[in-house]
């Protein structure tokens, strides 16, 4: 349905998106995961025709939309990361304005506004000015605006940034329902939990490149022969860390506060070795946990960094 082919973007000679290939099939929910600055928003800007790529192509049903994006715009809804609404206008007035310029027929506009307000759950507050809304409510109107023209494809760029858990849950549930009703979704986030929860397939981006892609199961299989162990210590000791890194089978040791995260090959005697060196350097192990692999671990495995680094 929607596809990017070797999509690249350079700003002043610096490559911020590098030959990205991704596709969305009809009705799919696809995640674009990566830390801040990975190139997700720039990729979305190019897909949505807001930004011209330096090279590569974006196609809708095998037709390039770079030069003639009108067809894509008619079926695409974009929820930007920022609250792209007029603060001095009410939710209703914002929807009415954007509905008109999206080309929603006049006789359908009122009903579409009320439908979308219903979907995002702010029908009762529709006459309130945006500037008086909480962060969560603004996010909901931000989404409603992208739904006005009943898009077949919905791109959401970090739609839950900076909002309360209740609003986040509401938005995630709303996106899931839209997807279940047939809307194709491209969801970007640096919250891997959201992507795991919502998406059928995931692209992981870092430094402008897609570094991994596939279903959740496929991505987790990257870690199939590795364990992640979280160890809480009473203190961090440099000699202890050096010795831990030197244990046979340990691939990475990450420090976070007084805890360390160890990625190591399975079926190795890591635990007994850790106990041994803790005695040796007088470091007390306060807690010990074998972690179920997640996309966060996949990202850590691939980049050596966490998503929030």
């Amino acid at each position: 349905m929607l596809e990017t082919v070797q999509l690249s973007k350079q700003f002043k000679g610096k490559t911020v998106v590098d030959e990205v290939d991704l596709y969305l099939d009809q009705g799919e929910s696809v995640g674009l995961l990566g830390p801040n600055g990975a190139g997700k928003s720039t990729t979305i800007s190019m897909i949505s025709s807001l930004l011209k790529p330096t090279s590569g192509d974006v196609t809708l049903n095998q037709q390039s939309i770079i030069k003639n994006p009108a067809e894509l715009r008619a079926v695409l809804g974009v929820v930007p990361q920022d609250i792209a609404l007029y603060q001095e206008l009410s939710a209703y007035e914002n929807l009415k304005f954007f509905g008109r310029i999206y080309g929603v027929p006049k006789q359908q506009l009122e009903s579409r506004i009320q439908e979308t307000l219903e979907i995002v759950g702010i029908k009762e507050r529709q006459q309130g000015l945006i500037k008086t809304f909480s962060g969560g409510m603004k996010r909901r109107v931000n989404i409603a605006t992208a739904l006005l023209h009943n898009p077949k494809i919905l791109i959401l760029d970090e739609p839950t940034v900076g909002i309360d858990p209740q609003s986040r849950h509401y938005i995630l549930e709303m996106v899931r329902q839209l997807n279940q009703q047939g809307t194709t979704v491209l969801y970007t986030s640096h919250y891997m939990g959201e992507v795991e929860q919502l998406c059928d397939r995931v692209y992981i981006m870092d430094h402008g490149q897609v570094i991994a892609k596939g279903t959740k199961a496929e991505l987790l299989s990257i870690l199939s022969n590795e364990d992640t162990i979280n160890v809480q210590l009473d203190r961090i000791d440099d000699e202890f860390l050096s010795s831990a890194r030197a244990i046979d089978g340990v691939r990475k040791v990450e420090v976070s506060g007084n805890s360390i995260h160890i990625i190591a090959k399975q079926e190795r005697q890591i635990v007994s070795q850790l106990v041994k060196i803790s005695d040796q350097f007088d470091v007390q192990i306060k807690n010990f946990q074998m972690e179920t692999p997640s996309l966060e671990n996949v990202f850590l495995h691939l980049t050596g960094r966490t998503l929030r680094d």
Partner: protein, 419 residues
């Protein structure tokens, strides 16, 4: 496009602080300036005229006539008629009488004295100026007027320094002499001669016969209306910057709405706001201060036509600023540039201080700015409601509108070009 237009007007209306600044502030300023400034500079100006003039009469008028008649035989009846006329209304007596007339007595004190005394007192600054009627002045004047022979019949005017009042007195004497010369010339052709009568300056503004008075209230009303309407162009550009920063412009760009609808919405809404602002200030100043009480329908028609053209010019300029704002990387840079442009236009257009305090070359440029042009045009219009006066300003304003709109459209970013 209607959606863009209503959105922009609604956004403007919701910003009550801006509405207050744009509509009320100029009216408040017009009222304050009209009440305060004339009291400081204007109304007291006429009362502050207090010139001391030395009058030195070295000419002996009667001897001059006698000598001329002894030496010269009138060549024809016309010459004799002129001599008779001059004797009936002797030029030196007429000038002395004029200087001592009640009209001049209000602001000039004439002291008759001899030459040495006059020069000493002028040099020492005790007197402002001296008018010297030299020896044989009447005789030489007769030679020049009757025989058309070159002579040295010249009055001498000496002043202790340059001042507006001294210049005015010099001009008044010159105008009197010009009028006398004309009257003698007319009389020599057999027509009726009226005694010389000249209007004196009153207040800070010269009242030209057949024209309405242009007052400080008029100046402040026109200049504030033009200036604050000009500010509107920068305000609209600032709003564009906010739409860019808050990503609403990008959201608009994601729709299939024709790109220029955004610019046209901005331009038309600016025109409506600019026109309303002009009208609020002009009508407000009239209702509060009675600025145009004596004006009739013709004046208002011309005023509305020019205000409409000016509002269109401001809208066209705002289209350049809007397009530029969409291209600049930093909104603050755009705001700074636009405010600087408005301030420069305001200064050279004469909205902050009257344009005549500026150098001539700058005045000429200033009168080509829309705000300077509207100010100069309305200044003339309030004094003389002849429609032909509006033709050239209309042509210039239309040229500004077309040029500015073309630039605005050319600069407007194509898809994917906005910063």
């Amino acid at each position: 496009m209607w959606a863009f237009l209503t959105k922009d007007l609604l956004l403007f209306w919701r910003d009550r602080k801006e509405v207050a600044v744009i509509i009320l502030l100029p009216i408040v300023l017009v009222v304050l300036l009209s009440l305060v400034v004339p009291g400081m500079f204007g109304e007291e100006t006429s009362e502050s005229y207090d010139l001391d003039l030395a009058l030195v009469v070295e000419d002996q008028q009667d001897q001059g006539f006698e000598r001329f008649q002894e030496e010269v035989e009138p060549s024809n009846d016309q010459s004799q008629q002129m001599i008779d006329q001059l004797q009936a209304m002797p030029p030196v007596d007429g000038l002395v009488a004029y200087l001592n007339s009640p009209e001049l007595a209000e602001w000039v004190t004439v002291n008759q004295m001899d030459l040495d005394q006059a020069q000493t007192q002028v040099d020492e600054g005790e007197l402002d100026a001296a008018l010297i009627i030299p020896e044989h002045y009447t005789y030489q004047l007769l030679n020049e007027m009757v025989l058309d022979e070159p002579s040295e019949a010249t009055l001498q005017f000496q002043a202790s320094g340059q001042s507006q009042e001294v210049d005015m007195l010099r001009q008044m004497i010159q105008r009197y002499l010009d009028q006398i010369n004309l009257q003698y010339a007319v009389a020599s052709s057999g027509s009726q001669v009226d005694s010389a009568n000249d209007n004196l300056p009153e207040g800070g503004v010269e009242n030209v016969e057949g024209q309405s008075m242009f007052s400080m209230e008029h100046y402040f009303t026109f200049s504030m209306a033009a200036l604050f309407t000009l500010f509107l162009a920068a305000t609209v550009a600032t709003r564009t910057g906010i739409e860019k920063r808050e990503q609403t412009f990008n959201r608009i760009a994601l729709t299939n709405a024709p790109p220029l609808y955004y610019l046209m919405g901005k331009t038309i809404s600016t025109f409506i706001l600019a026109w309303l602002q002009m009208m609020f200030v002009l009508v407000g100043a009239h209702l509060i201060l009675g600025v145009f009480t004596e004006e009739g329908p013709t004046f208002w028609v011309g005023l509305i036509v020019m205000a409409t053209l000016y509002a269109l010019a401001i809208a066209a300029i705002s289209s350049i600023m809007t397009s530029t704002m969409l291209r600049v990387k930093n909104n603050d840079t755009g705001d700074g540039i636009f405010m600087a442009v408005v301030m420069v236009l305001g200064v050279i257009g004469g909205n902050f201080v009257p344009i005549n305090v500026l150098p001539n070359w700058l005045q000429q440029i200033g009168e080509l700015t829309p705000n300077g042009l509207i100010l100069a045009t309305l200044t003339e219009w309030v004094q003389d409601q002849t429609y032909s006066l509006l033709v050239m300003p209309t042509v210039i304003l239309v040229a500004i509108i077309v040029t500015a709109l073309s630039i605005g459209i050319a600069v407007y970013p194509k898809r994917g070009e906005q910063s």
